[in-house]
Amino acid sequence: MQSTGSDWIHYLANPHRFMRLAAVVTWPLWGVALALMIWGLILGFAAPPDYQQGETVRIMFVHVPAAWMSLFAYTFIFVASVVALVFRHSLGHVAARAAAPVGAVFALTTLVTGALWGQPMWGTWWVWDARLTSVLVLFLIYLGYIAIWRAIDAPDVAARAASVLAIVGFINVPIVKFSVDWWNTLHQPASVSRFARPALHSDFLIPLLVMCVAFMVLFCALVFTRMQSEIWAQRSRRLDEETGSPAHQGRSNG
């Protein structure tokens, strides 16, 4: 008799069930995401300028949620890959593959907004500060993961390779963070460490929280949409294989 644990996983992993859920949920998610994003941005511009950093502190309202979401997205990819590998659910592979470019763009946003923030603060576009360097390495991990999906033709081989890479990469992330922190304490001039995160006044905290929730809902909306399109693409490919449609022969995986 199966344990209830794997029962509900099998229940959720049914692609038909997922598509029915997605059909209902996706548009409202987009609506909520956009509404929260607009509200968050209004609050962000309404907040007072920082006494130390002036107007540029507002970049924080995009930079910080993007950073958190890039890490959350990779954790999501890790969990989805483990579920797919251990419980053999194709939906896990679909979910991981769907979330990857989203997470990569969040990481890139973190880097770019960090650079834009860094220029007025540190006088330079890029600093090998511990956090920026860790996000740069995370971005490269994302790129490698996306590249694997695109490089391998056979879908099941690609899925397996990608899930192994996701798991290895996830274990690597705290190791990289630890090593980059250590490396930074060796080589970092003292002036940059002055800009460590200060305690946040509620004037800044509320827009920040709203933006974080907005980014999270945006992530969900994006992943749902991408998973839907991936499942439709899979169905279309399978139909083409069954009918031998010449127009779709030779189309690459993805």
């Binding site: 490269l140 490089a151 056979a154 390779a161 990469g169 190791i175 490396w183």
Partner: protein, 223 residues
């Protein structure tokens, strides 16, 4: 089973020597080190300061070039399927290949390092420290490289894909290896004896030697 392990090990070492990928790797190291002074100027003090870190970076890049041969050749000519069916579990086969790569690629690389170090005006008293750190990190570099090679083995023309995948895995090894080779103490940031760093690096190598074959085998079983 132990005989089978040594058989795979010896076979792979012979294969590496026959392929000549070691010469490619060593040639790359010398090419790159020769280019460096043309780029940054021949000032000896500068070269001496940069040497350990630069040598580490170039060694890591050279190793990335050689990673594709770990599994690609066997998969292409069908001997991988033979190895899969052998009495050795796939993880041990991969471990043997990792160790073969270490013996046949890393050790020759380290052997030519004193010569390379002369090009960079390395302090010859610092050479043993540098060489022992690279030897200690070698198993980790080969093991992590095996994970990346196993993931990209089914790609027709991998190009730099393996290098892209392995690069985030190499970042911690490079950070600890290079900075400890420069004689920096792990705790205080002052120059001191290397022993703690060497020990930590050996522990890390041991850990990757255990975990990497498991990950690589999982990826290769899908091929």
């Amino acid at each position: 089973m132990i005989r089978a392990f040594y058989a795979v090990l010896e076979l792979d070492i012979r294969q590496i020597w026959r392929e000549g990928s070691v010469s490619l790797v060593i040639a790359f190291i010398f090419l790159a080190l020769t280019l460096v002074p043309f780029g940054i100027g021949p000032e000896l003090a500068l070269l001496r300061r940069l040497a350990p870190g630069l040598i580490w970076v170039i060694v890591v890049l050279a190793l990335m070039l050689s990673l594709d041969r770990l599994f690609q050749g066997d998969v292409d000519d069908g001997s991988f399927d033979q190895l899969r069916m052998s009495v050795l579990p796939l993880e041990l086969v991969i471990l043997a290949k990792i160790l073969a790569h270490y013996c046949a690629v890393i050790i020759p690389m380290v052997a030519v390092l004193p010569l390379a170090g002369i090009l960079m005006n390395v302090d010859l008293q610092a050479m043993p420290r540098l060489m022992s750190m690279i030897l200690a990190a070698g198993p980790a570099l080969c093991a992590l490289g095996a994970v990346a090679a196993s993931v990209s083995v089914s790609v027709r023309r991998p190009g730099l894909l393996t290098a892209l995948i392995v690069m985030p895995l190499y970042v911690p090894v490079l950070i600890f290896g290079a900075n400890l080779s420069m004689g920096v103490d792990m705790m205080n940031g002052q120059t001191s004896a290397l022993d703690l760093g060497l020990f930590v690096m050996l522990l890390f190598s041991g850990a990757t030697l255990i975990l990497a074959p498991v990950a690589s085998a999982t990826a290769l079983r899908g091929v």
